[in-house]
């Protein structure tokens, strides 16, 4: 699935959480697309351009056009006329390029757009980008437009997510991968079909390596353990031993010395019950 992501086309959503931030994966996908010769336009609302470009080599960086909305997204400084149409206007303007190469538009992040604009406006814009209608003009020479959006799932209610986006997603697949420091992907297949092969980049720690006690048994120890009868185990010998009548049993009797203040009643208390 991941190999064909760039050929997949349309809108690709990347859902991440606080524990597992998706920006590295986003950058890995950008690298993949850039190496395929696509033009990449990034709408950056969450991190500075410097931070976003960190880790890419100059070859990739030269293919990435970064629209820096991070510095002044709401035009508070009153001098930011760089993006007159606001974030969505910038987004629409992206596909009015004369470059015919396939275009990948990266939204970092879609969550930021959804928090600041009505959901249906965002959806319409994305739809228009994908189908390149009205906004981009009929004569847009771009061969194909892909949209790659990062979505922080905690920021949107489950109903909201379902309502607007699940329709856009194809059937989910699970695939394991690791992202290398240079943002290339190491695919490891789906977890159900193949065993994940040991990753050479992570050092596996054996938790049983340096213990102060012994976890394993030798053959001899195992035999000794198996031959041991535990006190609660009931064997036939034990049963015999318990059932065998003791020789002195008949002659045994109970000796009871009453205390000085004991009130001993010789009468049977249940006498009147007529049992």
């Amino acid at each position: 699935m991941l190999e064909s992501l760039s050929a997949f086309g349309g809108l690709v959503l990347l859902r991440d959480s606080i524990e597992w931030e998706g920006r590295d994966f986003l950058k890995a996908l950008i690298k993949k697309s850039a190496l395929c010769g696509e033009q990449i336009h990034v709408l950056g609302c969450e991190v500075s351009e410097e931070e976003f470009r960190e880790g890419f080599d100059s070859n990739i960086n030269s293919r990435v056009v970064y629209y820096d909305l991070f510095r002044d997204p709401l035009n508070w400084s009153k001098n930011g006329e760089a993006f007159p149409g606001g974030p969505l206007g910038t987004l629409r303007a992206m596909c009015r390029t004369t470059d015919p190469r396939p275009l990948t538009i990266v939204l970092d992040s879609l969550s930021w757009l959804l928090l600041h604009f009505p959901c249906n406006t965002v959806c319409q814009t994305l739809h228009a980008l994908h189908y390149r209608d009205s906004f981009c003009g009929e004569s847009s020479p771009v061969e194909r437009v892909n949209v790659l959006g990062l979505l922080h799932e905690e920021l949107h209610g489950p109903t909201e997510m379902r309502k607007y986006f699940l329709i856009l997603l194809s059937s989910p697949q699970t695939q394991q991968f690791s992202i290398l420091p240079d943002f290339s992907l190491d695919l490891q297949g789906s977890p159900l079909q193949s065993q994940p092969h040991p990753d050479p980049h992570t050092f596996m720690v054996d938790p049983t390596a340096h213990l102060t006690f012994n976890l394993r048994l030798s053959e001899k120890e195992r035999e000794a353990r198996d031959s041991l009868t535990l006190p609660f185990q009931f064997s036939s010998e034990k049963q015999q031993a318990l059932l065998r009548s003791e020789p002195g049993q008949a002659s045994s009797r109970i000796l009871y010395e009453p205390d000085a203040y004991d009130d001993l009643d010789p009468e049977d208390p249940d006498d009147d019950l007529d049992i």
Partner: protein
């Protein structure tokens, strides 16, 4: 400043990381000891500090600061500390229309849509290098706490925008640090607060979480911090220990 916390975070006032947003978060307990820690930490680190105090008075922070070995009054007089005492200055906004834009202007507005004046105040306070302030290392913004803004009628997205701008200016432009406290109210299902907390968690580089013990109050263990350590607040310091290793348990 608590040396044990510095050890855990592997930092000292001399070699602290720059350009970071630190989120302090407390659940079912009071995390303000973390605010006091960072206030004294950055004052000792010789940074220019802007403190937006929305919950307590100056004298409160000053008294705690004295215990931790920093003099807030002196820091304020020599210009190292810019202190916005919201409890006091909010009265200026409530009872008369301020002549010039006031940092707490949003209190007068029916729909509290904009924290731009507050950001302008922070920007003005921390803007480096106009009156020979090269003596201070780097700027730091501290906010205690952001959840109060929600209670005052500001929407979570507006608070997120405010912190976004602070981050763009303080962390990225001037390579300083931002530290903010937010309460975690997962139990009370406050959607706005949850949105604020998740949004900030996505933006921040470090999250310190103080949590009340699930088992309730204990004389010698006051809470879990970031899942790994438990702590006890003492008179002048806080001691941290691995979970279950409190002297009260052993």
């Amino acid at each position: 400043m608590f040396p044990e916390l510095n050890n855990l975070l592997d930092t000292t006032p001399d070699k602290a990381e720059q350009g970071k947003l630190t989120l302090l978060c407390d659940a079912r307990t009071d995390g303000s000891f973390l605010v006091h820690h960072f206030l004294s930490f950055y004052l000792k680190a010789n940074c220019k500090v802007c403190f937006v105090a929305l919950v307590q008075s100056f004298s409160h922070y000053s008294i705690v600061g004295q215990k931790l070995g920093v003099n807030l009054t002196m820091a304020r007089e020599c210009g190292q500390l810019v202190f916005l005492e919201a409890l006091k200055t909010s009265l200026d906004v409530f009872f008369q229309k301020p002549a010039e834009p006031h940092p707490l202007q949003f209190l007068r507005e029916a729909s509290a849509e904009n924290l731009q004046p507050l950001f302008a105040f922070v920007r003005e306070a921390l803007k480096p290098g106009d009156d020979g302030e090269a003596t201070w290392k780097y700027p730091v913004l501290l906010v205690d706490d952001l959840s109060v803004l929600l209670s005052l009628g500001v929407r979570a997205v507006t608070v997120l925008d405010f912190i976004h701008y602070c981050r763009a200016a303080v962390c990225v432009e001037w390579k300083g640090n931002v530290v903010a406290l937010v309460h975690d109210s997962r139990d009370t299902e406050d959607e706005e607060n949850d949105l604020l907390l998740s949004g900030l968690s996505h933006q921040s580089h470090l999250i310190l979480r103080a949590e009340g013990l699930a088992t309730g109050f204990c004389k010698d263990v006051h809470g879990d911090r970031s899942l790994t350590y438990q702590y006890k607040i003492q008179d002048k310091t806080v001691s941290f220990f691995a979970k279950g290793l409190s002297p009260a348990v052993l």
